[in-house]
């Protein structure tokens, strides 16, 4: 029964926040509501500048974090409780049957190794980003709506991770798309809504493509609950002519959320448009939901032995490598900072998918470890981007000259995270890339097995190409840089508020810590790999 | 073929006449000619019927000198039919002639097509 709590609690809390804010707002206004939010709203109404949050942000941050409202505290407490519940559920284990849609279709939750790994990762990332979002949301409108939906999405994600069978997973997958939509189009500008619609229709399209596979599997083997190592025996697979096509449809369908090649168009458009904490969560965690779905189908339903060596595996490897290379190439040439990070997400998540497509224990370990490391790193990078926007409202990469003078500590954290992402040894990225490369070589898929590591290395080089220049230009802006603009706006030595800085630093420290002592995490993942393969 | 052709001379003549009458009635535009065609057609039929009643070597079925035996006369039934037919043709012809007069008074022409055209023009004026 404990499994149900982490799923229901945030959804209920989110719904309560949304319902409460509706009423709360009018009351708050009556009781001399907090000047800041009232004032910023008025200021915005009068403010005429085009960039919307730009000038408003300057005035807001001046107050620092003295304006934490009661709602913010409840919000952070809810997130903390959620993390605790998830960890307890992971420890407690057990399973629960929610309700039965029809006699054959029943929704249920069950705790297992991969499920708890993803759930804990999600809740921790959610907590840190939540803390950051409290400060960030001071400069946005409709913060309460953001908090509400932010809580609901984490509940849905934990539900997805702990799903006992494919139908429950599909239910939570669809709900995740719908509930994360308000996060994407939070600012209600024209391009935000356009991007939101694109995000919605791509994800729904991918989901329906995957649904074809689900229908087919349901027809072939009736009960869709997950069992380690997959339920399909050789002769069952022989009996179903279209099984491989169905699995491929599911790979491409669920791959949409992970930004895999054919249906990745929405990611670089949707992420930058969302507010920074939302895009951090979108890139860092929600893409992992797509990965989770694929792990469940390949390793817990169809079984790797059935797919190993088939055209599906080969096609999948080609697609992932193509995305890895294309993502980093596009990121390299992108000038808008958040768009660059979005392209980097496209390529990094395909690292994970490439690991999964190898279908051997080493590759599997590399993939799961990269899931953990990438979500930590990418969340840190996006939070840093958020902090930069809040403090200096600079969006373009070439504006970021002399950032070292403005926020040296934050930039240091950024450097550690980007080094980890590139895969420099003491940092965590190196561990997962190591397992991925060795897994690919040992996967026995002939030429593709060798091309894999080559593409990974080229992409690592490109990652350095698009992340490090920001650090270099930040600390060493070069001779002709006069820093006039920083003085005028009094930005020198103005670190982002504490609430923003702490999560960034924690995440940067985590990348270093996991890099040095990956032992326990890798052992945990290898135990799952042994179970599954 | 030729011997029987010579034998039924009356039938052939009446058939030819019927064809003439029929086409006259159908194709001619002048109303009077149509009526004449109709009469030709009817007379052709009556010729045919009369010829059917004739038996070689027998007299007219009028009892003049007290002869009672049926074999002396030709078959009277077709003649009876011809009489009724003539009455019918006369009445139809009378009616069509009356109609033609009425049309002539109104449209001053005997040509059926011209009558139709003038009738349509007359109707447009009324609307």
């Amino acid at each position: 029964m404990i499994v149900l709590l982490p799923v229901l609690w945030p959804i209920a809390a989110g719904a309560a926040v949304l319902a409460y804010t509706g009423i709360g707002n009018s009351k708050k206004k009556a009781s001399a509501g907090s000047p800041a939010s009232g004032e910023t709203a008025a200021d915005r109404a009068s403010g005429s500048d085009a960039s919307g949050t730009g000038s408003g942000a300057v005035a807001g941050s001046a107050f620092g974090h003295s304006r934490i409202t009661a709602l913010d505290l409840i919000y952070m407490a809810a997130l903390a409780l959620e993390t605790v519940l998830v960890i307890m559920a992971a420890a407690g284990g057990g399973s629960v049957r929610l309700f039965s849609l029809t006699d054959t279709l029943t929704l249920g939750l069950r705790v297992d190794g991969t499920g708890s790994l993803f759930a804990v990762l999600t809740s921790v990332m959610w907590l840190l980003t939540g803390i950051h979002s409290v400060a960030y949301m001071k400069h946005e409108e409709w913060a309460e709506r953001f908090y509400g939906f932010y809580l609901i999405v984490v509940g849905v994600l934990v539900g997805l991770d702990y799903a006992a069978d494919l139908v429950t997973l599909y239910v939570f997958y669809e709900l995740m798309t719908l509930t994360s939509l308000p996060l994407v189009l939070h600012e209600l500008t024209k391009e935000a809504v356009q991007a939101g619609m694109k995000y919605l229709f791509y994800s729904v399209g991918g989901a329906f493509l995957a649904l074809f596979g689900i229908f087919y599997l349901a027809n072939v083997c009736g009960d869709l609950s997950f069992t380690a190592g997959g339920r399909f025996t050789a002769e069952m697979a022989a009996g179903a002519p279209l099984l491989l096509t169905a699995v491929f449809c599911m790979i491409v369908g669920f791959g949409t959320k992970a930004g895999m090649f054919p249906l990745h168009g929405w990611l670089p458009i949707a992420h930058p448009v969302a507010p920074a904490p939302a895009s951090a969560v979108l890139s860092g965690v929600i893409t992992k939901a797509g990965v989770m779905a694929l792990v469940r189908i390949i390793y817990f339903l169809v079984g790797p032995d059935v797919l190993r060596g088939t055209w599906v595996q080969a096609a999948w490897m080609v697609l992932t490598l193509l995305t890895v290379f294309m993502g980093s190439m596009l990121a390299y040439r992108e000038n808008v900072f958040k768009k660059r990070l979005a392209y980097s997400t496209v390529s990094q998540v395909s690292y994970v998918l490439f690991g999964l497509s190898l279908m051997n224990p080493i590759g599997f370990t590399g993939a799961l470890t990269h899931v953990v490391f990438h979500s930590a790193i990418k969340t840190c990078l996006f939070l840093f981007a958020g902090a930069v926007i809040v403090v200096t409202s600079w969006k373009k990469v070439d504006q970021l000259r002399g950032l070292g003078r403005v926020m040296p500590l934050a930039l240091a954290a950024y450097t550690m995270a980007s080094l980890a992402l590139i895969g420099i040894p003491p940092f965590s990225g190196f561990v997962s890339k190591w397992y991925l490369a060795t897994g690919s070589l040992a996967s026995g898929t002939g030429a593709l097995g060798f091309i894999g590591p080559v593409v990974l290395l080229i992409s690592a080089l490109l990652t350095a190409g698009y992340l490090l220049p920001i650090m270099i230009r930040g600390y060493f802006p070069g001779q002709d840089f006069d820093g006039k603009e920083i003085e005028e706006r009094g930005l020198a030595k103005k670190e982002p508020s504490l609430l923003m800085l702490v999560p960034i630093v924690i995440l940067a420290a985590a990348t270093l810590l996991l890099g040095c002592f990956p032992g326990p995490l890798v052992a945990f993942v290898e135990k799952i790999a042994a179970l599954v393969m | 073929m030729s011997p029987t052709l010579m034998l039924n001379l009356e039938e052939e003549v009446s058939m030819v006449l019927f064809g003439v009458g029929f086409t006259m009635l159908l194709l001619h535009r002048n109303l009077i000619k149509k009526i004449m065609g109709m009469n030709i057609m009817d007379t052709a039929v009556y010729l045919f019927l009369a010829a059917k009643g004739y038996i070689e070597g027998r007299g007219v079925p009028i009892m003049t000198d007290g002869v009672q035996d049926a074999s002396a006369y030709i078959n009277p039934v077709p003649s009876g039919l011809v009489l009724t037919g003539i009455v019918v043709s006369v009445s139809t012809t009378a009616l069509m002639l009356a109609l033609t007069i009425r049309l002539y008074e109104r449209y001053h022409s005997l040509d059926l097509d011209r009558i139709l055209i003038s009738m349509k023009m007359e109707e447009e004026e009324q609307l």
């Binding site: - | 019927l49 009445s91 139809t92 009616l95 059926l112």
Partner: protein, 515 residues
Amino acid sequence: MSFVQNFPFFSIIIAMFSGIVSSVLSGKKARAVSITAITVTTVLSACVLAFCLRTGQSYTYMMGHFPAPWGNEIRAGVLEGLTAVLFGVVMFLSVVGGLHYTEEDVEPSKQNLFYIMIDLMLSSLLALIYTNDLFTAYVFVEINTIAGCGLIMMSQTGRSLTAAIRYMVMSSLGSGLFLIGLSLLYDVTGQLLMSPAKEAVARIVADGSYQIPLLVIVAVVSVGLAIKSGLFPFHYWIPDTYGYATPTASAVLSGLVSKGYIFLLIKFFYRVIGTENAVHSHIINALFVFGVAGMMFGSLRAIMQTDTRKMIAYSSVAQIGYIYMGIGLGTQAGMIAAIFHIFSHGATKALLFISCVGLYKASGDRTDFLALRGSGYRNRLAGAGFLIGALSMVGFPMLAGFISKLLFATSAFASPHKMLITLIALAVSTVLNAIYFLRLLIGLYRPTKSGSFAEMEQAEQSGRGGTAGSGFAAPAANPWTMRIAIVCFIILNLILGLFSQPIVRAITDGLAMFG
């Protein structure tokens, strides 16, 4: 020889006699005489029908006890009795329905002439139904033609005169062919009475002589009667004649006259040639093809019309096509369907013509669609009459049209190779019927462009009292005679629709004893 067996002869003579007598009477009295004549003949026919049903077989009535080659005969059976009754009812209602408007259209001096024509028409129809002798049939065909021409001419408009002359020309063509057919038959069989002629024909067919003359006889007679009843290729005189005569005349002409000739043709097939020989002679297939073509062509032309009277006339061409298709199927079931359609079309078409007159009067005597818009409200009863008539034509369940459509479809299955054509033709022509009838029906119940709907309403209510708001002078209320006629026609239609079972059984028995 019970007394009832004289009734067929009596009814013909009464109708003839009343026609002769009313030539000296004034309009009003002539009308009374004619209406009584119609009622009496219908009652007599009903007695004959009852008698035949009771005895269960038909009987022949030799005029003056003269035997076969010379004498003249009348044959009455269940089918003849039923047809006579229904024709009588339709004629009675048409005359009563159109009473008021006949007075308006025809000059006072010529009123009695109109009723003479009606009586002659009645007697010739009854004769065509009952006669068993071919030459008598020819004589009454001619009387029918002359009476019909008289009825057409009665309204003295330019168009009706030209229609009359064209009608006379075509009819005399038809009767000429019929006459030559009779003479050839007399030549070949030596008989003019139908029953002996049948044995003679059977003997001839048995020993295989005279094949070609027989074929010619059947062809000539069929074409002759087809011309007279307005089958497809010879139908161009129908729109003017049916459309522009007085309401009674057009109802009688379209409803009964063409049906009389078809009934004679059926009698000719059954009683003289014998159905198997007729089918064998492939003339039946020709009739079938012309019938189907007529259905399609009639409906298509009707769609193109903008004048209501012409539209309804063209729809008669289509319905006659239905009947000939039924006969053309060549099976017993096909014949039953054809005969039932004779009755149902007769009743429905007469209803349509009579109720249309009410609509014309409510739209300032104009007959095109635009004028009729909204007339359904201005003249409620006429609108309802037209509604029932149109629905029956389209084959709406519970009405006569549906049953005849059902009979045609079930009969189609009896003749395999014609089945598909019949079914498709039925479906397509129902759609075509729907198109032009319902288009008008919608027009009837739409408010005129000029006034909004509310204004239309007062116009209709105030119409009773003073001048109407919406452009058309509100009509004087429907004459009570017309109201009764429309209501009776609707009831007749419903009877044919709902209680068709006894009628169909009567037709089947009639056909069995018809041969």
